[in-house]
C-alpha cells in the first residue's frame, strides 16, 4: 500500500465516521472496550475466544468471500503460527516479538506452499486440497512429537515461568488486545474491500476468464488475498497461544474449526464487511454459553442447529443473515444525522453497511 493510497484509505474512514453507521460502530466499540468492568470474568473469557475466532472468520471472508476461493483449510495457518510461537518461546527461549514475527513469516511461507499448487485447482477441488492439508498437518504434529508434544498437546507454561510478560497479563488486558485484533482484522477487511486488491478479487470471483481478459493477473491476486488471509489467521493463532497457553493438535489443526471459519461468514453474509462480524457475534457466544451452561452435549446440539441453519440459508437465503438485520438497522441509520460536510454523498455502497455490530 503506497502512502497516497493509505492516506486515501484513512480519509475514507474519517468520512465514514461522519455517517451513522460509522459513529455507531465507534460507539459500540467504546462500549465493548468497557464491557469487562460490568460482566463476569467467564464472559470476558468467552468474548476473548469470540474475537479470536472472529479474526479467523474475517480472514476467511477475504479469500473466500471477496475472492470466491472456498478454502476449508484455514486452521493450518492458525495451527502453524500457534505452534511456531510456542516451540520458539519454550524450546528455544525466544522473546515474544521475534517468535511472533517468525510465526507469521512461517504462516506466510505455508500459504505460498499451499497456494502455489492449490490455486491450479478451482471450485470444490480447491476446497478438497485445503481440507486435506489440515488433516495432514494434524498427523504431522503427532508424528513429530519430540518437537510438538504429539497428541498430548503443548504447554507454554515453561515460557511463563521464565518470565515472558505477554504470557502473564490480566484477563482484562487480554480482552483489550483481542478486541484490538478484531478491530484490526475488520479494518484490513474494509481496506481490502475498498482497494484494488478487493475489486480484482471480486472480479476474478465473478468470472475468472473475464477478469484475466481485462488484464488482471489472476494467480497473483489470488495469492495476495490468500496471504492476507493467512497472516490474519496467523494473528488469531498467536493470540490463542498467548492467551490459552496450551495447544493441542486436535484444536489447532481441527477440521471443525477450519470449517467454522468458513461457515461463520456464510451464515452472516458472504463477501460483505459486516457478514463475518455478525456471524461471529451471533454464533460463537451462543455455542459457548450453551456448552458451559448446559454441559458438553449442548454445545454439540448448537452445532446441529447451526448445520440446519446453514442448509436453510444456503437453500432459501444465500445472502445470509445480514439483509435480515438491515431491515432493523437501516431505518435507524436513516433516522440519525450525518455530521460534517454534506459532500460525502458519493459512497452509495450500502452493501458495506457495518450495522448490527454488537
Amino acid at each position: 500500500m503506497s502512502p497516497i493510497n493509505s492516506l486515501r484509505f484513512a480519509s475514507s474512514l474519517v468520512d465514514d465516521l461522519r455517517q451513522p453507521r460509522g459513529y455507531l460502530t465507534l460507539l459500540v466499540l467504546l462500549v465493548a472496550s468497557q464491557l469487562p468492568r460490568f460482566i463476569p470474568s467467564e464472559y470476558v473469557h468467552m468474548l476473548i475466544l469470540t474475537y479470536i475466532i472472529g479474526v479467523a472468520a474475517i480472514a476467511w471472508n477475504i479469500i473466500g468471500g471477496f475472492g470466491g476461493q472456498f478454502s476449508l483449510g484455514n486452521s493450518v495457518f492458525f495451527g502453524v503460527s500457534a505452534y511456531t510461537l510456542g516451540v520458539l518461546m519454550v524450546q528455544f527461549e525466544f522473546g515474544f516479538v521475534p517468535a511472533a514475527l517468525i510465526a507469521i513469516g512461517l504462516s506466510l511461507v505455508t500459504a505460498l506452499l499451499i497456494g502455489y499448487p492449490s490455486f491450479q485447482l478451482t471450485g470444490h477441488y480447491f476446497a478438497l486440497a485445503t481440507i486435506t492439508v489440515v488433516e495432514g498437518m494434524r498427523f504431522l504434529v503427532r508424528y513429530f512429537n519430540d518437537f510438538t508434544g504429539g497428541a498430548q498437546g503443548y504447554s507454554l507454561v515453561p515460557a511463563l515461568t521464565r518470565g515472558v510478560t505477554v504470557l502473564d497479563l490480566e484477563r482484562n488486558t487480554y480482552y483489550l488486545i483481542a478486541l484490538g485484533l478484531f478491530v484490526f482484522a475488520f479494518l484490513v477487511s474494509v481496506w481490502v474491500r475498498r482497494s484494488k486488491v478487493g475489486y480484482f478479487l471480486m472480479a476474478l470471483r465473478d468470472d475468472q476468464l473475464a477478469a484475466a481478459s481485462i488484464g488482471i493477473n489472476v494467480p497473483r491476486f489470488k495469492m495476495i488475498g490468500w496471504i492476507v488471509t493467512a497472516c490474519l489467521t496467523a494473528l488469531a493463532g498467536i493470540m490463542y497461544a498467548v492467551y490459552i497457553q496450551f495447544l493441542s493438535p486436535g484444536f489447532s489443526f481441527s477440521i471443525t474449526q477450519s470449517v467454522l471459519y468458513a461457515v461463520i461468514p456464510i451464515i452472516g453474509g458472504i463477501g460483505t464487511i459486516a457478514g463475518p462480524v455478525i456471524g461471529t457475534l451471533l454464533m460463537v457466544p451462543l455455542e459457548h454459553i450453551s456448552q458451559t451452561e448446559f454441559g458438553g452435549t449442548y454445545g454439540a446440539i448448537t452445532y446441529v442447529v447451526y448445520g440446519i441453519i446453514l442448509i436453510l440459508l444456503i437453500i432459501y437465503a444465500p445472502e445470509g443473515l445480514r439483509p435480515k438485520l438491515k431491515v432493523v438497522a437501516d431505518p435507524l441509520a436513516n433516522a440519525l444525522p450525518t455530521f460534517g460536510d454534506p459532500s460525502s454523498d458519493d459512497d452509495p455502497q450500502s452493501d458495506e453497511s457495518e450495522s448490527g455490530d454488537d
Partner: protein, 302 residues
Amino acid sequence: MADLALFAQLIVSGLLSGGMLALAALGLTLIFGVLDVVNFAHGTYVMLAMYASYWAWKIGGIDPFVATLLVGPLFFVFGVICERLVIQPVIDRPMYAQVFGTVGLLWIFENGALALWGPDTKSITSSYGGFSVFGVAVQESRLIGFVIAVVVTGLLILFLNRTKTGLAIRATAQTRELAEPFGVNIERIFMITFGLGIALTGIAGSALMATRSVQPTTGNFYVLLAFVIVTLGGLSSISGTFFAGLFIGVVDSFVSFYLSAEIAPPIYFALFILVMVLRAQGHIETLKYHLASVRSSGGVAN
C-alpha cells in the same frame, strides 16, 4: 526368506484392508460421477453406518457382516431423504452451495452423534479368528470384508451395465443435457444414485465395524481417505476406485510398518494434491491419450 514372508504379509494385509477402503469410497465416486456433487458429509455417513452396525451388535447381537443386509437398504432410504431435502434444492446452484450444503449435513451428523452417543470410542468384540497360508497370517474378519467389497463392486458394475436404470445413470453421468431429451428423468436418477451411493456407504461402514472402532469424529478420516481414493481412481470410475483403494491399503500397510501409522495420511494426502494438480494441468489426460495410442497402435500391428 523372512523378508519375503514379511513382504507378502504386508501386501496381503494391505490388499485386504484396501478392499474395505475402496468399498467405503465407492459411494462417493458414484455420487460425484453422476451428480457432480462432492459430498463432504460422505465420511459421516460411514460413521453413522458404523454406529448402526455397533447398535445392531450391542442390542440384537447381530454380526456386523450380517448387519450390512439391514444397514444397506436403511441407508438407501436415508440417502433418498437427504437428497430430497438438501441436495436437490442446491443441485443447480453455484458450487459453493453444494459444498456448504453437504458441510451442513456433516455438522448435523457429527454433532448429532456426539450429543447422542458421546465422544467415547466404541468397538465390538467379534469371534472371528485367523488362519495362515504359506506363513502369511490372514484375519478372517478382514478376508470376509474384502470378499464383500469385491462382491458389492461387482454387483454395482453389473447393475450399471446390465439394467435400464443403470444405463440411465451412466447416460446422466456422461452428458446430463443429452440424457434428458432421451427420456431420462434426471431428478429421479439423481435421487436413486444418491440413495445408492449412501447405501454402498452404509454397507461399507457396517462391515468396517468388524475390524475398526468408531467415534463421532471418525467420519473426517474416512471422507478424506475416500477423496484420495476417488481421485487416484480417476474421479468417476468404479473399477478405478477399487484398485486405488487396494493401492492405498498397501501403501498404508508398508508406511505404517516401516515408518509410522501417523505419517501415512500426510503421504497420501500429498499424493492426492499432486494428482489433482497434474489432472488440472491436463497431464493425466495427455498420459491417457499416449497410453491409448500405444495400445491401439499395438492392436493394429496384431
